[in-house]
Subunit: 485 residues, 2 copies
């Protein structure tokens, strides 16, 4: 796309992103304001010690994102419409002792709030239905029912619908992972895939390393399986600290790890390829399972290729790769999958014991959809909209939340992580907002150690309309009230 | 149906069944042969110490099943087409020590054999698709997609689709259970419901009482959750020995029980109502969870009303009632449910952690179908056909299996339990049959204690055609070979 002759390598893309990220941060922080001229290609090339062509590519990337514009013979300028967003959150730290997880009560409370049809779903990670290829999927499902009226009424085999596994295997090439259809097992959503992966590869009483912060859906699974966790430091841009994981593995303190390398939920950060390779190498060296949740992998905001999965670096099969179509095609499909590596037998055994059969009709419709070019077109549109909305929510947070509020600059996914000043209680905000029919995910859900009480996660994939804007204004007002009383 | 003025009470129905069962056994054992006159209504009334009207009802029942016929002024005679079946299996015994379950390897092997499209599925419990209301469900699903194109693409709430829960609650009145829609949680099939029930009410290391023999799908769940089992004696007609369960509860040897009261899989027996009431009372008295799998509850072979669930006697909420539509509407729907009683919070918590959302589209289609009268009409046809096929398989077993072979006389469900002479190895038969593209469920799967190596379970719900008949002849041949070498 950037280069018509030859696709850029992943190293090149990383460089483009670095340069573009640097300029975007200067704009976000207000150092560069609308109308300002940005450093020339030559100057930036010298400053960042990269080639002229790299800077040119990076600037074109920023242009395509609507942040800067080229003016003939004058260079690049920050666009008037370039928006201001809060500065990024601070890096988190690792802890040492394993902790028991205890988030399920509050998670249940969040689910209860989200169950009301009136509530504004800033607390969920739900793509708005209008962003999904609903009509297309409905048509494919109806065609399947008409052409093969019996197919959807049989029990599926434990491995899952073979034509779908074939399509998924093809798709995973884009993630750099070479997985045969017979090395894949379909599941009822990524949620079940991650549960089965934990069940297959770990035991109650084991300890795993997780990112800090970590998605509470994963923490809940660890709670219910009686697995303890050690939280590992995360950089809001490059993700989890691989050195820390290595030390834990070396010291025998962990029996596995769960990592969301592409767009940590809630931080939205992405691990660089070399960090991905290293974490896989570490886990393989110590023969420990590495559970990867790649549900946001297709939802990268840059215009480059899809980021690699951890599975791409998995030579020995210690990665249990989990994903689903819930964030890209439809949450209602209930189709996910796992590439469990060397844990495949145990994974299939667990699936047979717990929930042996998925819906063949839904899997068949998903397989048909993956065969069309429509999916890639749809993904391109979806990525662009999610990126826009995420920035829009960030801008609204900048405008309406208390001063000193920080927010993630997600590189993909669909959530924004908002860090308020110390002393702020997100659980109180959660309850106050719930009374006003607004849901947010309180930060304490994302850690077993009560680390993020001053944070909230906001869903950016809901339709941006006045009601949502008003909701963010109201959240800002409640937050300010809380901090001044 | 038997009495136009007033529906019979469940006590009356039990009496009818007793009398009819007595005559049916005489026919099955060959004491009464085709053409024989059966005892007059008056004589039978005296022999069994029941009213004349009861015997009349029972004989009409046998007539409707095609076993006997009335000849004007001469009384009732065994029909020429009345088939001969093997004598019933012996009652099983209880064991004392808890056992760890270890059936999942062989179960996996059975699943692998069943995965081949060519194999004759005598080893599964799969209703043949031609027995299911496929076209009707497909139409309802398509209507749902057309009228509410967005509905099926949302995340479901953890409790499940409300209109379906309403319909299920109405349906459960027939099972004698008064359960409000808010006391129901839908699941992805009964399999998931039973797993979540175990997860919610018990812990690894606990011991539960199960029927002997017990469905291996349940045993696998106990294996995977690390729960040990004590097998409890079963009568092939009246089911599990409640006295034995009471002793175990009294002695603190069990922390719960799993019972399939309506048509134990594989025995096909049904617990009498007073036994059902007693087992619920026992478990309630000792405050222990009683997990009920009622997946075959609607598939009773007599013409009376649907048998009561254990849940019907559950005053205090210790019963976790599980069921699904996989055996009555379609396995492909993947719609089951649980009424978890006092364990509801823990059940919902487990569902959220493991697999929070089901398919709304499938649940909506099921709800629509339950609103129609079609379901009851369909069930009536299904019961009749399953009863016929079960007897047909039993007759074929009588004809082709080794002498001394016994077989269950199921009162409902869709399987036949075949007991061969001691020394017979069903695992060997399983492997030999698999090579011939025939699947059977070997008896050792139904016990953690290697009790039923001489038994096999046969699925009777598959289309009865020459291929199936040939398969049973072949199984008989293999069994005879094994016993003579």
């Amino acid at each position: 796309m950037l280069d018509a002759e030859q696709p850029p390598t992943s190293d090149q893309i990383r460089l483009y992103d670095q340069v573009a990220g640097q300029v975007a941060r200067l704009i976000e922080q207000g150092t560069l304001r609308p109308g300002d001229r940005i450093p020339s290609v030559r100057r930036m090339s010298g400053q960042m010690e990269v080639s002229l062509s790299t800077v040119t590519h990076a600037y074109r990337l920023l242009e395509s994102r609507g942040l800067i514009e080229a003016r003939p013979k004058s260079g690049y300028f920050v666009r008037d419409t370039a928006i201001r967003v809060p500065p990024p959150p601070k890096a988190t730290r690792s802890n040492i002792r394993p902790l028991r997880v205890n988030v399920s009560q509050l998670s249940r409370r969040l689910h209860d709030v989200l169950a009301s049809p009136e509530v504004i779903k800033l607390g969920a990670v739900v793509p708005d239905v209008e962003l999904l290829p609903m009509q297309r999927i409905n048509r494919l499902l109806m065609q399947t029912l008409q052409r093969f009226p019996e197919m959807g009424h049989r029990y599926d085999i434990p491995m899952g619908h073979a034509p779908l596994r074939h399509e998924i295997a093809r798709r995973m090439i884009d993630a750099g992972a070479e997985v045969a259809p017979d090395e894949l097992v379909t599941t009822t959503g990524a949620s079940e895939a991650v549960y089965l992966a934990l069940h297959a590869a770990l035991r109650p009483g084991d300890t795993v390393a997780v990112e800090s912060p970590s998605y509470f859906g994963i923490l809940e699974k660890l709670e219910t399986t009686g697995i303890r966790v050690i939280e590992v430091a995360c950089d809001p841009e490059t993700g989890v600290d691989v050195d820390a994981i290595e030390r834990l593995a070396e010291q025998g303190k962990i029996q596995g790890a769960v990592v969301v390398a592409n767009f940590n939920n809630p931080l939205g950060c992405r691990m660089p390829d070399d960090a991905k390779r290293r974490v896989v190498d570490v886990m393989s060296r110590y023969q420990l399972p590495l559970i990867e949740d790649d549900i946001f992998g297709e939802l990268h905001f840059d215009a480059g290729v899809r980021p690699k999965a951890l599975k791409a670096f998995d030579q020995e099969g210690f990665v249990l790769y989990c994903s689903s179509f819930s964030k890209t095609i439809s949450p209602g499909l209930r189709v996910g999958w796992c590439a469990p590596g060397i844990y495949q037998d145990a994974f299939v055994q667990a699936k047979i014991a717990i929930n042996p059969a998925g819906s063949i009709a839904m899997q068949a419709a998903a397989a048909k959809y993956l065969q069309t070019a429509g999916f890639d077109l749809h993904l391109r549109r979806l990525r662009r909209i999610l990126h826009e909305r995420t920035r829009k929510v960030a801008s609204a947070v900048y405008e309406h939340f208390p001063e000193e509020t920080r927010a993630s600059a997600p590189q993909g996914g669909q959530v924004l992580w908002v860090e308020l000043p110390r002393g702020f209680d997100s659980e109180q905000l959660f309850e106050e907002a719930a009374q006003r029919n607004i849901s947010v995910a309180p930060g304490i859900l994302f850690s077993p150690g009560d680390r993020f009480r001053n944070c909230v996660r906001l869903n950016c994939a809901i339709q941006s309309n006045e009601r949502v804007e008003q909701a963010i204004i109201e959240l800002g007002r409640l937050a300010k009230n809380q901090l001044t009383t």
